[in-house]
Symmetry: C2
Subunit: 244 residues, 2 copies
């Protein structure tokens, strides 16, 4: 499986993804699921994918090749006039790849499915965050739902719902997402280390802090070990049940 | 959906279930999913079910009718010589009901599916806890996996994994399960209040404390409200992330 989270805060966007892919439980590999395109000062676009690896790699490769072919750059990932148009381009590419892979064309429950979190900012626009479905359509994060998860979303959701605050600092979001990922890693073997993390600071149009976090990362270890104890302490702090 | 948890502790067994059933999101009802059979001093058997309501009700009714027909009580729920035989009887009943409902007989992904948590104690034996699959086979809780969940299991699992301790008191398990249920209720609309809770104390062969917990239950409210703050405090207690 996969676990990726894209989070919108006042200061910008935060992205985190795992790197495990599996074809059956006995065939596990590490692949990057976070892809970044940058034109410094002009645009930063981040894409994270879950689903069939062949599909998601084909989508990224097609977007990537197009962005490099100078003669064919009109309407490509580095030329789209807005994040909305970028999301549309990615959605269309997903639809195209799935259609090519699937003998009967696009079907919603296809084995070739892929879900994508797309975020970034293009000069003149706001930072925006989208969730793109395998059908190629998409939704945008707003005030009420300021984050998107794809893949194994359930284990790590409660802490995000409870601790998220739009005024958070980047450091706080890193902590929040590491707790969310740690809960997921502990519960689903098909989500695995290392993790890729990236901050995008509003209006910089530059890739911010990036880090690959492995199992021996001291901060990850501190969060993972500390969270067990912190949860137990939180649990103890609740009032005791009485039979009445 | 449904959320039920059966927990084995040193002092006995603890059961909690929600009561929401739905046929589509616009057709929601309240049904008891926890069923108890008792012969004081002899046996206590508790059954919680998830899945197709027609199937689970038919299973319970069949077990119930059989346990009442005095002439046909050999090998029935109040006559089984051990908890293992009880689990086998329930498993066989599940298989029988699904086979009758399903036009093509038993299939694992059938719409008529039901999963069951069965726990209890029969005089002369230990308290035991089983998870019964729609195929009629079952597994037993042991030291390494001292609890079973059925239905919407993911949101509420991390807290049980981290805070469970076999030496817990019944009051502590009530708190633990309410936290687990609260996380699930907050995330999945198809799990709903009120909750049914029951304690079974080892070697008593009597139904222990039972309670139906509604949304206005003061302890539930205290846990639900307190847990948000406790989680935020736990989160704050973790070390801060630094870009290095």
């Amino acid at each position: 499986m996969t676990y990726c989270v894209g989070l919108k805060i006042d200061r910008g966007l935060v992205f985190m993804s795992d790197t495990r892919t599996n074809a059956g439980i006995d065939n596990i590999s590490t692949f990057r699921k976070m892809h970044v395109w940058e034109e410094p000062g002009e645009r930063v676009i981040v894409l994270m994918s879950a689903g069939n690896l062949a599909t998601t790699q084909a989508v990224v490769s097609m977007l990537d090749e197009r962005s490099k072919a100078a003669s064919d750059r009109v309407g490509t990932l580095l030329e789209t006039p807005s994040m909305f148009q970028t999301a549309k381009l990615v959605g269309d590419t997903v639809k195209e790849v799935i259609k090519t892979s699937s003998p009967d064309g696009q079907t919603a429950d296809s084995y070739f499915n892929a879900s994508i979190i797309l975020g970034g900012q293009i000069k003149g626009g706001e930072p925006r965050l989208f969730l793109i479905y395998p059908e190629g359509n998409f939704i945008e994060a707003g005030e009420d739902t300021p984050f998107f998860q794809i893949g194994e979303t359930k284990y790590g959701k409660p802490i995000i719902v409870r601790a998220y605050d739009p005024a958070m600092s980047f450091a706080e979001t890193a902590k929040l997402l590491l707790v969310s990922f740690d809960s997921t890693l502990k519960s689903n073997l098909s989500v695995g280390l290392p993790l890729d993390m990236m901050f995008y600071e509003r209006n910089t149009m530059r890739v911010g802090f990036r880090k690959r976090i492995g199992g021996d990362d001291p901060y990850y270890r501190a969060v993972s070990d500390g969270w067990s104890n912190a949860l137990k302490a939180a649990f103890s702090s609740l009032p005791e049940f009485t039979e009445d």
